[in-house]
């Protein structure tokens, strides 16, 4: 296990985020995941390795196949998981202030 890998590093990459989305809806094999990407298979494997090392993905043996699962619990552990949500509302509220200040001057 490579301790230099952290969750933020893992989700910083757009391909890895897309992989997480895919696997979040259903568990898939490496081959099935790779089929969704226009990226060389070894590159996808590397992404899967990184996601597994930081525990966002979990492997499960099913017969001869290895399936990748999304580990939602780990995602929750991302300390700032609330931050994008807060930011979304903060942006909306900032807009309200800007828009309504125009009404104020009109009065």
């Amino acid at each position: 296990m490579n301790l230099r890998r952290d969750v933020f590093q893992a989700i910083a990459d757009p391909t890895r985020r897309a992989i997480l989305l895919l696997v979040a809806s259903q568990s898939l094999t490496a081959g099935a995941i790779a089929a969704n990407f226009d990226t060389a298979r070894p590159t996808v494997s590397k992404h899967l390795q990184i996601l597994t090392e930081c525990e966002l993905l979990q492997q499960e043996q099913n017969g001869r196949e290895i399936y990748y699962h999304f580990n939602a619990k780990k995602m929750k552990e991302v300390a700032d998981f609330i931050e994008p949500f807060r930011k979304m509302w903060d942006d909306r509220f900032n807009k309200i202030e800007v828009i309504m200040k125009q009404y104020k001057t009109k009065k």
Partner: protein, 155 residues
């Protein structure tokens, strides 16, 4: 620096509280939540319907340039007390997030400042946590859609 918008979501609870103080009189803060033309501007969604009154309902929709629906939401209004309170339900269409109950309280601080407290209650802890992660998931969706566009052009 203290953050203007605060989100409190205690672990294991199926509710959250969002608070924000505005540099606006409470009347204007309320107006921003009651008038469809204004809601459209800050929500970034089209307001298909908004009956700002008790037993009224509302419907929001966001489409892309091709007219494909990206986001749809609707709900009914249970309480509509001008400059004071709105209680409504909110449901995102075609998602597993269920219906949430939203209680908006508008408070006058001074003649020119006000405070909004949004108390949101979900069907379960799991649903609340999913909604909290949504902005991140939307980022994922976006990345994925872009990817699909690129891939389908290659075929």
């Amino acid at each position: 620096m203290e953050q203007k918008t605060k989100v409190t979501a205690e672990d294991g609870k199926q509710e959250m509280v969002i608070t924000r103080e505005f540099d606006l009189p409470v009347e204007l803060l309320f107006k921003a939540h009651a008038e469809p033309g204004i809601v459209e501007q800050w929500m970034g969604s089209k307001v298909l319907k908004m009956e700002s009154k008790k037993h009224g309902s509302y419907q929001l929709q966001k489409t892309d340039a091709q007219g494909t629906v990206l986001f749809g939401a609707n709900g009914v209004i249970h309480e509509f007390s001008p400059n004071r309170k709105i209680t409504r339900t909110f449901e995102m269409e075609n998602t597993p997030f269920g219906v949430q109950l939203e209680i908006y309280e508008f408070e006058k601080l001074t003649d020119d400042t006000s405070k909004l407290t949004m108390h949101v209650i979900y069907e379960s802890v799991a649903q609340r946590d999913q909604v909290l992660q949504l902005p991140f998931a939307q980022g994922l969706n976006y990345a994925h859609n872009q990817l699909q566009d690129i891939v389908s052009k290659l075929r």
